[in-house]
């Protein structure tokens, strides 16, 4: 019989002791791996939106909600002149800067669009029927006010495309060439339209690397009345390549591309993308953007860069978000809480491993009598040490394996209940949006072979090392003294 088969026999013929050891390892490893996976996946999920944008910093100007217009900036976002964006590029620590213009466009759907939306996604408010009557969509206003309580302006504003009343968002009047009212349209479910750089780099809502998955094509410099749709938006609207869509006052914009932005929260994610110059024209507020993506050089002091950006913008109320701020904002973690979490993490690891070590040590120490007999019948110390190490390695291996599986299971269960939304200032979607917005940071517990193997290896090492220490202690006793503990 080999030492290995004798070890296995020893484990199997002592089921209670083996199960206690396995349970100890299993619980410790499960605790260890679930804490690692949950923290890892949560952090990855919270960092993903910034990572996806390829940015280290997001710069925004926030202020009072801007007045309503058919194409407006999202609530609280104020314009940043493009010349100031160029100024940011000159900061030493900055590698690249790119701006985008997020807007809410109260569109006038085409007849075909209205037809297309029949039977589309249940949660989507289909838009406005083209008739003379005011149609008020259900639910709530973008600021959260129930729509039934909102004042609705029917007719009266003489300027084409202008709001009938700035206090009545969602309604506007159209007049014909003779200056006569032709229709009044009200939409309370604006489309989120983002103007992006037609020459994509590695920053922003659509990066060069995202284009490999585009259906159709991306913008060219000369594109004007064309749009790229988010895949989910296209699906719910039943829109395909070559179809047309109305955005604000711009009618019949041809769909040239459909892009899948995935499930994750996306900063400046949109339902419809247009070239930046088109978005600028639509908002009619000059050369502006309202979100700036900044890529920094490695290892720079972000606090110092923040100050330089504030100085460049000459505006103290600028909001600059880094991944750390994002984590604080989304997860509600202050720096202190993050530090505390880290401390808890290390304590959990320490307790897990101490628990394994203590169980293994105690379990071997209990076997002093048995070791005494083995020595009495002539087993060499080296064979006894090998026996204990092999037994503990087997227990560590299976305990680690079961614990890892249990840890993954716990993480999957926990992950199902952990969903965090993008902070409101990074979320371009109106609160009343009926569209399935991708603003959630959902942690994913991916299987990591390296974590899996490393954990099992750690369990084996700690278990066998603890067993080794215990057996060395027992071997210091004479065989007679050891057998007295039987």
């Amino acid at each position: 019989m080999s030492l290995l088969s004798f070890s296995i026999k020893n484990i199997l013929t002592r089921p209670r002791r083996s199960l206690v050891s396995l349970a100890g390892i299993c619980i410790s490893i499960a605790l260890f791996i679930s804490v690692i996976l949950i923290l890892k996946s949560a952090q990855a999920a919270f960092r993903k939106p910034l990572q996806d944008a390829g940015a280290d910093m997001i710069v925004q100007l926030q202020g009072e909600p801007c007045v309503w217009s058919i194409v407006k900036l999202p609530t609280d976002l104020n314009p940043i002149p493009i010349k100031l964006v160029d100024k940011m590029k000159s900061i030493d620590e900055v590698v690249a800067v790119d701006g985008a213009l997020i807007t809410w466009a109260f569109s006038i759907p085409t007849k075909s669009q209205n037809q297309n939306t029949q039977g589309a996604h249940d949660n989507y408010q289909s838009g406005i029927p083209m008739n003379e009557d005011v149609h008020v969509n259900e639910d709530v206003h973008m600021d959260g006010t129930p729509l039934k309580d909102m004042p609705v302006q029917k007719k009266g504003n003489e300027s084409k495309g202008q709001p009938c009343d700035s206090g009545a968002p969602g309604s506007f009047c159209e007049v014909d060439e003779q200056g006569k009212h032709t229709s009044t349209h009200v939409s309370f479910s604006p489309i989120v339209v983002v103007g992006v750089n037609p020459e994509p780099g590695e920053l922003g809502p659509i990066k060069k690397s995202d284009l490999k998955d585009i259906q159709g094509r991306y913008f060219t410099k000369d594109d004007n009345s064309v749009v790229i749709l988010d895949k989910e938006f296209a699906r719910t609207r039943n829109l395909k390549l070559e179809d047309s869509i109305n955005i604000g006052k711009r009618l019949e914009n041809k769909v040239i591309g459909i892009i899948d932005s995935g499930y994750d929260a996306k900063i400046a994610g949109a339902q419809v993308f247009v070239p930046l110059k088109v978005a600028i024209e639509m908002t009619e507020r000059g050369d502006i953007v309202d979100i700036v993506f900044v890529k920094l050089k490695g290892g720079v002091d972000t606090a110092a860069v923040k100050q330089k950006i504030k100085k460049a913008l000459a505006n103290e109320s600028v909001t600059i978000t880094t991944s750390r701020d994002y984590l604080s904002s989304v997860a509600g973690f202050s720096l202190l809480a993050q530090g505390l979490m880290l401390a808890i993490f290390f304590i959990v690891i320490l307790i897990s491993f101490l628990f394994i070590a203590k169980t293994a040590f105690g379990s071997v120490l209990e076997r002093s009598g048995e070791v005494g007999i083995l020595r009495a019948v002539g087993w060499s110390n080296s064979n006894i040490i090998k026996l204990i190490v092999i037994e503990n390695s087997i227990l560590g291996l299976f305990g680690g394996l079961l614990g890892s599986l249990l840890g993954y299971l716990a993480s999957f269960i926990y992950k199902a209940n952990l969903v965090s939304a993008l902070p409101y200032y990074l979320n371009p979607y109106p609160p009343c949006s009926q569209y399935l917005v991708k603003t959630l940071a959902a942690p994913r517990v991916g299987f990591s072979l390296s974590v899996f193997l490393l954990t099992i290896l750690l369990a084996v090492i700690i278990q066998s090392l603890s067993g080794l220490l215990a057996i060395i202690r027992i071997l210091k006793l004479t065989p007679v003294n050891a057998t007295r503990k039987l």
Binding site: F6, G369, R375, A376, V377, G378, P479, T483
Partner: protein, 216 residues
Amino acid sequence: MSIKIEGISKSFQSLDKELKVFENINLEIKDGDILVIFGKSGAGKSTLLSLIGGMDIPTSGKVILDGLDLSKLKSDALAKLRKEKIGYIFQSFNLLSNLKAIDNITLPVILDKDKDKKVNKIMELAQEIGIKDRLTHLPGELSLGEQQRVAILRAMINSPKIILADEPTAHLDIENATKIIEIFKKLNKELGVTIVLVTDHEGVASKFEQRFRLGV
């Protein structure tokens, strides 16, 4: 194999007191002898036997086996000596409760390449002492007498040159006790095995010519 004990003493430290078990014992057992150590309970018979088997360290004095001073040997050398030359029968059997009787018997040779040969040989003895049918049982399923016979077989599996037996017949009926004693005598006579028996039973001691009384 001869055994020489020179001025051996053993004491234990109990709290702040030193408990002397015995002092300055000198004894010589010639190769092929049978010696019975007898005496009252607590006289130190088992302690003396464990010192002879290199299982414990004397407080002073020497144990010399075939000219080899045990105090000079390291732990693994002592283990090798115990395995190859000494068969030790514990008073309380010291069987491993998780292993079947046969595994307990083969424990000293379980890693040896010639294990099967040794096992076949010991089976004849198992038959002789009436334990063969019980070898697939765990110690907990055996009577005290059966456990004792298993312990005896374990001590004999390596065909030792010395058998150190601590109360080897204590739990046996007269018939089996007699069988065991006969086996010891046979081993001694036919193979020249040196045997040291410990007993507090005058009747058992009287069956052997050389006796050493320990204590008063």
